[in-house]
Amino acid sequence: MEEPRIGVYVCWCGTNIAKMVDVEAVTNEVKTLPNVVLAKNYKYMCSDPGQDLIIKDIKLQNLNRVVVAACSPRIHELTFRTACEKAGINPYLFEMANIREQDSWVHTDRTEATNKAIDLVIAAIRRVRYHEPLQKRSVNVNPATLIIGGGISGMIAALEIANAGKQVYLIEKSDHLGGQVLKFDLTFPHLSSAQQMIRPIIQRVMSNPKISVFLDTEIIEVSGYIGNFKTLITVNGNNPVELAFGNIIAAVGLKPFDPSVIKEYNYKEFPDVITSFEFEEKLLAGKILTVYGKEPRNIAIIHCVGSRNKNYHEYCSRVCCMAALKYVHQIRAALPFANIFEIYADMRAYGKGHEEFYALTTHKQNIFLMYDQQKQLPVIHQADRSDDCNMIIEMNELLSGQSIEVPVDMVILMVNMEAHENVKQVVRAIGVSLCGNQFFIEKHPKLDPVATTTGGVFIVGTCQGPKDIPDSVAQARAAAARILATVAQGSVPVEVTTAAVNELLCCGCRTCIKVCPYTAISYDEIKKASVVNEVLCKGCGTCGSACPAGAIVSKHFTDFQILSEIEGIMSMSYKTS
């Protein structure tokens, strides 16, 4: 190994750091350490002049290691790595010390903050001495895409990719495309027809030469990694078919909650207590009738059935409030004199045009009744013979503080949207994780909502969480754009700081295989050692710390690097104590 020649740069970050840390003192303190060729400070290291300073020094002073003490590496590590690369040294020969978030922003004593900054910089200097150059790698991408689920999200994504001229395999468990939207009559908030919207999309998908649709299809297994996946599927239970593709979109959707577990609602006991999905069937059939064949005079719509309740599901299904308001318009159009009771817990009208829709609905002569989801659900029971209604809903009405009886002939339960039971099978096949509510977990809840922690696997629509049609479609198009970007590139960069197995030390205990969250490690029976698939590996380091033989090295996080960093942290403490 060549002799390390380290350049240290302490950033002021305007006054963010310089106010609490004596940057001059830090610079002077580390200047004389072994291997440190130079130490400088500057107002803004991330600025162009700041980066130029590093590049110039690397070239003139022949530096081969760089330490920047500034903000969090999450913000500017890439900036400085790129600067190193420009100057001709490997970007992994760089280390960052965080003296802003971890120091100047959280301390009030200038001397102590300065001492801490010195500790952090020394640690970085010690660590960077053992840094090794790592090479960036990439894998080729198969331009075909597998889409699991033929609902609106899956179909929109399929069309988006197919329209760019790329092959799509669209697999659907049932015998038809369309998903849940096909079950709806009208959509909110514009009361436009769901059928007129979804049916042409199905047509376009079926007739698109770039989309191969597989109905009645189940996935047996998925193998491979980003850019190079393979799957085995069975169509109609026939012999397995193998497909190869570069990316996966999971659009498996969800299913309506079964309200028969809620005793209070007597669903299935009383035939005129129906779910919102069953009511959609009535609307599509064109007649709102009770089981007795009569037009109901009093209709209650109960919100949050199975939602926002610790006994069932704690989350909000997002679409039921607006769908319930939609029913008011549809019932009012069909039955002008019916009494419509909207029994809700809270009205959620957050989307575009939703609040206006809510306001509009209040003029439809319906009665809003509020119940306390946490205390007592409304109870539906049979009416007496003397009553002029079929059922009575007993409830504590929150806004009046009265306990009341609501006469009803039909009750519509706005059922929660929950994950499919068989979602776990898909999850195992494509290697993504589920949250507590059995919804797929996205890579980042805000900044990367359609990607997953597995490269090349995207999640769209309601399998990621309940959402309405516009949100599902937006996600579908977003995922399609992400995939088309990698397909256009032809290759994707893969993680560099992966784990590596020293086959000579590996004892074959396979502990690493059990702990790997990315299923990136397999066991080579011939070599009798674990093997890391460097494309699947994310460099999380779990295997490295679990390996009892010390056979696994996490690149860029080697024992040497980490131990020197710790020594560095401690060195000044010895001095001051």
Binding site: T362, I367, M370, L399, S400, Q402, S403, I404, E405
Partner: protein, 381 residues
């Protein structure tokens, strides 16, 4: 115990006023902004809720509608344009109809034909009385009445008959009002809830009735004090006039023209002035429709204003013609005066708008009774 919703009641209530009360989403801004809403007697939001749900008993046992003087702040600040002020007004009309056991009030409020029909019938009866009944009893328009340039109004309309009639009318109206107030008391205090009010509280709080009738301090709490002034002038003018023509008619209506400083004339002028100011504010307000309180006018509002204006104008004309010794003009004005006055008193006071002169102070009295209500002893089973 739970109450059954009566959605139909809502549609009934809609007939008593104009408002899209269903639009209310219960933010409570109206209750927060109302200077009269207070702990234990919160409105308008809670009343809108009762209305939306059609909880008949709860509405009928409410005093709150009478505690509102319709300043319009709630309607102005309502984010949903649900018009809470007008709801309170409509509830007052509804309650008036509910207190009235004859059922006429409901007819008058919900049917223009009934209200106008009754007014016309009473008017016709007055005209018949003057043109047919009195002459048949020997009170004809003979030369004596027009001779000597004097106006002999107490002979034209024989004062003893008129006085008897006035008393009869007052007793009928008072009887109706008192029986309705008893029903109001029954609904608000007696029947409602599991509480009772001791006799001592009834006596101790009685002064509030008189005080609130005379001064209307609650109205004065509204932001715009001008309406309190004009309303008080109207109320005091009306009350003075009512008392002098019923109780002191022979003193008030003399054939001899007394000097201008005489209390008889001063009281008359004050009452006329008060009525004119009050009417001017109310009529111009309702015509300009600038303030929320005057924005929505029910038929009953206009009918009352028109009748009272006609009564005042004909009263002024009687006075002018009488002073100037113009017998025919005086008598014609007198007949017109009575033709408007009688139906106004008979319809407006017990059955319609004017009944609030009794219901409001009584409601405030009942409010204070409610405040000191104690739980009834319940029998443990």
């Amino acid at each position: 115990m739970s109450t059954r919703l009566q959605p139909e009641l809502r549609n009934q209530l809609m007939q008593y006023g104009i408002g899209d009360w269903n639009a209310c989403y219960h933010c409570g801004t109206c209750t927060a902004i109302c200077p009269l809403s207070e702990k234990g007697f919160l409105f308008p939001r809670k009343k809108i809720r009762l209305m939306q749900m059609g909880l008949k008993n709860e509405i009928e046992s409410s005093v709150e509608p009478w505690l509102c003087y319709y300043c319009g702040d709630c309607t102005n600040t309502c984010p949903r344009d649900a018009n809470p002020g007008e709801l309170m007004m409509s509830l007052r009309r509804y309650l008036t109809a509910i207190y009235d056991w004859t059922g006429l009030s409901r007819k008058f409020y919900t049917s223009k034909i009934w209200e106008l029909g009754f007014i016309l019938v009473f008017a016709a009866l007055v005209i018949i009385a003057f043109l047919v009944l009195l002459p048949s009893m020997g009170y004809t328009l003979n030369k004596e009445l027009t001779d000597e340039g004097g106006v002999k109004i107490n002979s034209f309309a024989p004062i003893n008959i008129i006085e008897t009639f006035d008393w009869t009318m007052a007793i009928v109206v008072a009887g109706l009002l008192i029986s309705n107030i008893l029903r109001m008391y029954y609904k608000i205090i007696w029947k409602h809830g599991n509480t009772k009010v001791t006799a001592w509280v009834h006596i101790r709080e009685f002064w509030r009735l008189v005080f609130n009738f005379a001064v209307q301090p609650k109205f004065g709490k509204c932001e715009d004090k001008r309406y309190w002034v004009s309303h008080w002038l109207l109320m005091s003018g009306y009350t003075i006039m009512f008392i002098v023509i019923v109780v002191y008619l022979p003193w008030f209506q003399t054939e001899k023209i007394l000097p201008a400083w005489h209390p008889q004339r001063i009281l008359g002028y004050y009452a006329t002035f008060g009525l004119l100011i009050g009417l001017f504010v109310a009529i111009t307000g309702r015509m300009r429709r600038k303030d929320v309180k005057f924005y929505f006018s029910h038929v009953s509002d206009w009918l009352f204003l028109v009748m009272l204006t006609l009564t005042v104008i004909t009263g002024i004309l009687i006075h002018i013609f009488r002073i100037n010794g113009m017998p025919y003009a005086t008598y014609i004005s007198y007949i017109t005066h009575m033709t408007v006055l009688v139906p106004m008193i008979l319809i407006e006071v017990p059955f319609s708008k004017w009944s609030h002169l009794a219901y409001r102070p009584f409601a405030i009295y009942f409010q204070h009774l409610k405040r000191y209500a104690v739980p009834r002893k319940t029998k443990h089973l």
